[in-house]
């Protein structure tokens, strides 16, 4: 049974459609790579799936629940890590994680135990009582990741989760995602980093100008263009003139 299903979903802002007639169905225990150029509609899709945007056309079900009618039940089962690390920066990591955990209905003792363990894994245990306004982007991203996963969600929505992380943390997060998948969790992963999407994803969905233009495994997508996911992406989104643009760039520098 599909854990995520979208039927004829469209979304407009001031008469401009940012998503047009999106339909897809996702089985449990998969990592879905969701990629597209800037402004393609990736974040809007995620906001609809996570119940943040309720004003759209079409029908969306997550874990069998209608997102429009039962957004709270959906939110209880999912974890969401947004692109821009929005945190209450005047709080300390432990205070923020208590805040997030309690909004998911977790018990304070459980939050305390899990937070301490997870902060230790991300090497933030010595920073647990420091306010986050002095944190680097990577440190904030780690807290954000923990806050989105602390309640052990069934489906995880990630929007550029590796942004700002150091090399060790990137490897750790990739490994965590692989193990979450093995544990039967579904991961909806939106990113610009093609090689990570290529390596991690069981299925890749490419969106451009609000429409899905490709959907399949990396192997099946290779039929449309040879080489890496980057090649497939550029050929499908019509942005194959990078060589010419780069040439022009150098020419301007030289003049």
């Amino acid at each position: 049974m599909a854990v995520i299903s979208m039927e004829g979903v469209s979304k407009q802002y001031d008469g401009n459609y940012v998503l047009t007639d999106i339909s897809l169905s996702i089985e449990p225990g998969q990592i879905i790579g969701y990629i597209g150029p800037n402004g393609a509609g990736k974040s809007t899709t995620i906001k609809i799936l996570t119940g943040i945007l309720g004003d759209f056309e079409g029908r969306v079900e997550v874990m069998g629940k209608d997102v429009k009618a039962d957004a709270i039940a959906v939110k209880q089962k999912i974890g969401y890590i947004p692109e821009n690390a929005a945190l209450y920066e005047v709080l300390t990591p432990i205070e923020y994680l208590h805040f997030a955990g309690r909004l998911y209905g977790m018990l304070p003792d459980t939050i305390e135990r899990k937070s301490n363990d997870l902060l230790r894994l991300f090497e933030l245990n010595d920073k647990r009582d420091q306010r986050m306004n002095s944190f680097s982007k990577g440190m904030r991203q780690k807290v954000l990741l923990i806050s989105g996963l602390i309640h052990n969600p069934e489906i995880i929505f990630l929007d550029e989760p590796l942004s700002g992380l150091d090399a060790n943390a990137v490897i750790l997060v990739k490994e965590i995602l692989s193990q979450l998948k093995k544990a039967g969790k579904t991961i909806f992963y939106s990113s610009h980093i093609m090689d990570v999407v290529e390596k991690l994803s069981d299925r890749i969905i490419i969106i451009d100008k609000g429409r899905i233009i490709a959907d399949g495994t990396f192997e099946s997508l290779k039929t449309s263009a040879s080489g890496s996911l980057e090649n497939i992406f550029t050929s499908l989104t019509g942005n194959s003139e990078h060589t010419t643009t780069a040439g022009e760039f150098i020419e301007i520098l030289n003049n």
Partner: protein, 555 residues
């Protein structure tokens, strides 16, 4: 106080019976919001030296309480009941509206909630209630601290009945202030972009900072307490002002005077705030949340528009830099300083009060002596007080010079270090030139105009000499102080050792040079002998500053 209010809220929580509200989550959100309020830096009291962990809210509340107590003390000075009530209610209304606009705007216009709380399993009703409770607790704290002094004084001087009435009218003033603030924000959200709103709020914050910084110096000089004991004449339009309704209501109860006018005022005092609160709750608040969400979604578009306009136009700063900067490095630092001092909120918040202080200094130093301002003004031509006017711009420019060293985005200064630049002193000089042209010159010319009007032609020689002396002093200060590149130092950085000795040396230099001018005042011959020495010294100092090497730069 926050803990006490939270305890009261916890006790009241079981009485919230709506099934749509999740009481546990409501408490979590309110607790967290209040904790954040305590840590939020109040914009009106912000200073470069504030410690990160200080309890800002408590500090602000204590200061408000002191102001309130001072206002309460007025009740014992002013005999006219209506006049003093009018002042009290205007004060409460003004303070609440300004506090809401300047400080609470960060809460009202905060879209972070949408990103942090909306993805969590919390329903809209709970989030909305949490917001309302948070606003209510915030307002309650401020109302009590602002008004406590006034209430106590009213109880002591006018008795229980009037005291209770004033408490009620104060709360009505607060309700009106909330309504006016929401209404203002909604109007701004309707007609302008988020960026513009933030700019408008910044100006309110600057105004508030100026009022707090200089108000206590100026107001006692401007208020004539003998006038306050005369009766206020009310015109037909006076009855349109809410403080007049509230003051007349208090008067009605105090004098037991219930004629038709007083009854109408009592009705307006109670009905208008309650009705406006109902409108706010029913129509404005939900629309406000919707507008905010829409604003967030449309944000990227407005940013693009802002970037596209104004492209490839030569700006005023560019033209000035082209004329006054001697090298590319000076030019770059000139434009950077010019632009950032126009746009950076923190700079404006700290510098604009310094401009306002020039006004204060005018009253304190120039118009000093006699018993009244008009008497002092008439006697001014017989004094040498224009010397203060000559050196006031120095105070302004040297404060600006110390402020441009610090910036929240100090990290951006990597660009200085990556540039192929052997003498970073050129950057310091570029910044100094920008400040001289932007702040020193206009103020100097303005004060010269004022002095010329009062004293006439005899002061021209002194102003001419003073012009060079000012620049000389400023260059000496720049040579003696720590050499910091513009906007390259983290705010709150601990000052280097020996700062006190350097500051004393600077005061000594200023004292000597201004003192020299004082001795030679209106002795044109001596002034014209020394002026060329000053100009040559300026030239050497200019070269010294421009050639400061990397070793001497503080990082």
């Amino acid at each position: 106080m926050e803990k006490l209010l939270l305890r009261i809220f916890r006790a009241l929580l079981p009485f919230i019976r709506s099934k749509e509200i999740d009481r546990e989550k409501l408490l979590v959100i309110v607790e967290t919001k209040l904790m954040m309020d305590n840590r939020r830096v109040n914009m009106s009291w912000r200073s470069s030296q504030q410690k990160e962990n200080a309890n800002h809210m408590q500090r602000v509340l204590i200061l408000y309480a002191i102001f309130g107590a001072l206002m309460g003390a007025m009740l014992f000075v002013v005999d006219q009941f209506f006049t003093v009530m009018l002042i009290m209610h205007t004060y409460v209304l003004f303070m609440m509206a300004m506090t809401l606009i300047t400080d609470f705007s960060s809460v009202l216009l905060d879209t972070t909630d949408n990103q942090i709380i909306l993805p969590k399993p919390v329903n809209a009703k709970t989030v909305f209630t949490a917001r309302m409770v948070h606003i209510f607790i915030y307002l309650f704290q401020f109302t009590i601290t602002i008004s406590a002094g006034i209430w106590v004084a009213t109880f002591i001087k006018f008795g229980i009945l009037t005291g209770i009435t004033v408490i009620i009218t104060t709360f009505m003033a607060v309700l009106l202030a909330v309504f006016v603030t929401y209404f203002l924000y909604l109007a701004m959200l309707r007609f302008t972009s988020e960026q513009k709103i933030k700019e408008i709020i910044t100006w309110f914050q600057i105004l508030m900072t100026v009022i707090f910084t200089v108000g206590y110096q100026l107001f006692p000089r401007l208020i004539n307490f003998t006038n306050l004991n005369e009766e206020v004449t009310l015109h037909w339009y006076s009855y349109l002002l809410p403080p007049v309704w509230m003051s007349l209501t208090a008067e009605a109860v105090n004098n037991l005077q219930f004629d038709s006018i007083h009854l109408l005022m009592i009705l307006l005092t109670i009905a208008v705030p309650l009705f406006s609160f109902w409108v706010l709750n029913k129509y404005l608040a939900p629309g406000f949340t919707r507008k905010l969400a829409a604003l967030q979604n449309n944000n990227s578009n407005s940013k693009q528009k802002a970037l596209h306009s104004g492209r490839s136009k030569t700006t005023f700063a560019q033209s000035l830099a082209g004329i006054f900067a001697r090298s590319n490095y000076e030019n770059a630092a000139f434009q950077l300083t010019w632009n950032i001092t126009s746009r950076d909120r923190n700079f404006k918040m700290q510098f604009y009060p310094a401009i306002a202080y020039v006004g204060v200094m005018f009253f304190v130093f120039v118009l000093r002596g006699g018993s009244s301002i008009s008497e002092n003004w008439n006697e001014l031509p017989a004094t040498s007080n224009f010397l203060w006017l000559i050196y006031m711009p120095l105070f302004l420019t040297s404060s600006a010079y110390s402020l441009i060293s610090y910036n929240e985005h100090y990290n951006a200064s990597w660009i200085y270090h990556s540039a192929p630049l052997s003498s970073p002193g050129a950057l310091i000089m570029g910044g100094l030139k920008a400040l001289l042209l932007k702040f020193f010159l206009p103020v100097f010319l303005l004060l010269f105009g004022l002095a010329f009007w009062v004293w006439g032609t005899p002061i021209i020689d002194d102003f001419l000499f003073g012009f060079f002396n000012n620049i000389f002093i400023l260059f000496v200060l720049a040579s003696l102080s720590q050499h910091i590149l513009p906007f390259s130092m983290q705010p709150n950085t601990k000052q280097q050792a020996g700062k006190v000795a350097k500051a004393l040396l600077q005061f000594f230099v200023i004292g000597i040079l201004v003192g020299l001018h004082y001795l030679l005042i209106q002795r044109a011959m001596y002034l014209y002998i020394i002026a060329p020495v000053l100009i040559i010294s300026i030239f050497f100092l200019y070269r010294f500053i421009s050639n400061i090497s990397w070793i001497k730069i503080s990082v």
